[in-house]
């Protein structure tokens, strides 16, 4: 799978499909981060655009205002996102299941309103990033061939997935799963519930912020109605859930499917396509909730399990 994603931009030179791949990789990172908190730890956040926006805004602001390299901006964005995550998470983690989800929506709304009324952050119009010389240090490349953008996005996804995988290997992994399965039992067993929820949130916030920073550099425009919107939060959840909440590969599968649907409907139906993709997403999510909560990955596994059984039956 990893190799396929690496070879992809060397083979595929079509602008449309290159763009789909870059966006899919970025949203896969964000969704993998959401998945750590929502799918694996069981804390369904509908406010993850807060962290995505934090990354994008920190990077953009430092670049425009102080001329700092976007790499510095990314690191700074991570720190701000982790700090913000802890400040938000500390009180909000007192709430459970639905209550938690609703509180994350409210948080997102408050932060959105604060940012769009803040002149230093470009208010409602956002921040436009300056075009610089194409180089790795500037994190800007020619848009004729998106190869470098693709490789960096892939590297980010790799680093993010590795960080999540490492997190899951230690006792933190066992603890957060215990919290998802039954918080009261976990607490009775001596799991420091709130602390491990915060760890999961901190890592999740940092990775989401990275994705946001990179998206900002890729699009060279930071629009609060995109990077801080409820719709983005929705999209992040959709990608995570569609691929398969709780699985490591799920977000990547979900991101590809959604990105293809989104770009295809947009191209084919121009303005109205924007709504058709919503209709399809909505149908998919309802279908997954009702039929297979493990998402597309779960459906794939089910099919894979069924196939050899059938073959054997035929042989007999």
């Amino acid at each position: 799978m990893g190799l396929l994603l690496f070879v992809y931009p060397f083979v595929v030179k079509d602008a449309f499909w290159q763009n789909v791949a870059v966006l899919a990789l970025v949203s896969a990172s964000a969704a993998a981060a959401w998945n750590l908190l929502g799918g694996i730890t069981g804390q369904v956040s509908f406010g993850h655009s807060i962290f995505y926006g934090t990354g994008a805004y920190t990077t953009g602001y430092l670049l425009v205002r102080y001329g700092l390299s976007p790499w510095v901006g990314m690191a700074a964005g991570c720190l701000v996102a982790v700090a913000l995550g802890i400040v938000i998470g500390f009180p909000v983690f007192r709430l459970r299941s639905h209550y938690f989800s609703i509180a994350t929506i409210a948080m997102q709304q408050v932060i959105f309103i604060i940012v769009v009324n803040n002149k230093a952050l470009g208010a409602a119009t956002g921040i436009e990033l300056p075009l610089r010389e194409a180089s790795l240090a500037n994190l800007q490349f020619s848009t004729r061939d998106l190869l470098p953008y693709h490789l960096i996005a892939l590297a980010l996804l790799g680093v993010s997935s590795l960080a999540i995988w490492l997190f899951m290997q230690g006792k933190a992994g066992a603890y957060v799963k215990a919290i998802r399965d039954d918080e009261d039992v976990a607490r009775a067993m001596g799991v420091p519930v709130r602390r491990y929820k915060l760890y999961a949130l901190a890592l999740s916030a940092a990775i989401t912020s990275l994705a946001g920073s990179y998206y900002g550099m890729y699009s060279l425009f930071i629009d609060p109605n995109v990077v801080l919107s409820l719709n983005l939060s929705i999209a992040i959840v959709l990608v995570g859930v569609l691929g398969g909440a709780g699985s490591l590969w799920g977000p990547l599968v979900g991101a590809w499917v959604l990105q293809v649907i989104q770009e295809e409907t947009r191209v084919r139906l121009s303005g109205a396509g924007n709504a058709l993709d919503l209709v399809i997403y909505g149908l998919l999510v309802m279908l997954i909730a009702v039929v297979e909560p493990a998402g597309l990955i779960g459906i794939g596994r089910r099919l894979a399990r069924r196939l050899p059984v059938r073959r054997r039956a035929v042989q007999r």
């Binding site: 929502g38 799918g39 069981g42 369904v44 509908f46 009180p91 909000v92 007192r94 709430l95 299941s97 639905h98 209550y99 989800s101 609703i102 509180a103 929506i105 409210a106 948080m107 709304q109 408050v110 309103i113 604060i114 009324n117 409820l230 929705i234 959840v237 959709l238 859930v241 909440a245 109205a272 924007n274 709504a275 058709l276 993709d277 919503l278 209709v279 399809i280 997403y281 909505g282 149908l283 998919l284 999510v285 309802m286 279908l287 997954i288 909730a289 009702v290 909560p293």
Partner: protein, 286 residues
Amino acid sequence: MTELSQASVSGLLLGAIYALVAVGLTLIFGVMDIVNFAHGDFLMAAMYITFFVWLYGRLDPLVSIPLAALAMAGFGILVYTVLIRRVLKGPVLSQIIVTFGLLVFMRGIAQLAFTANTRGIPDPLVGPVRLVIGGVVAGGAQLTAALGAIVCTVLVYLLLSRTELGSAINAVAQDADAARLMGIDPNRIHLLTWAVAGASVGVAGALLMNFFPVTPEIGAGFGLIAFVVVSMGGFGSLQGALIAGLAMGVIQDVVGLFQPAYGFAAIFALYLVIVMVRPQGLFGAR
């Protein structure tokens, strides 16, 4: 001073509608522990029904109230039968995301079918009515909406507290298995709960259409407010929803008077403070 009392009165009228929208949400949650994230979009559907009945049938929104209530009750039953019934025994994640999928679906359909255009009814019957007391003006449409909202909330309250059906609903809310042993079919009660919730949001939509234009995105704002009202009042509590709804309306308009951009943010901030101090909400029992 007049400005402040004007803002408080407008806020109260708006708050009554918030409360009515929240009734259906709190009812469903109280009975079956499910949050309908698409609740705001139920309101949107009710508003479009009212609008098109006016556009093609030339019927005033006041006449459409029973129509919208009936249609939305039917829609509630449909949603329960097709989606909710199937996830009740499933994982919590499914229960949270299923209505979330419905929200995305309904918003998409509305945009496809009706485009993003804003649609309002320019000449409702109650439009020209004005009530002026001591320099404070209350529009006829807003007054009707507030009145209808309060009547409807009280009716649902009476249904729950004074009727046999209400006792059955309460029984299922407390313990569905025990209720089944007493000869109550929880499935039927759940179905009725969704019907009542749908009907109440149908009434809210028709009343709101008198003075508020509808867009496919309208559910986002009203839905959010409904969640906030319900979590603040305490999930499952009707009195809580009524009081929190009225409070929200007043706070939004009064804060908006001084800081126009932050009226909306103020209610979310207040909500966050309240649930941090009292996670079960003002009237919630947990």
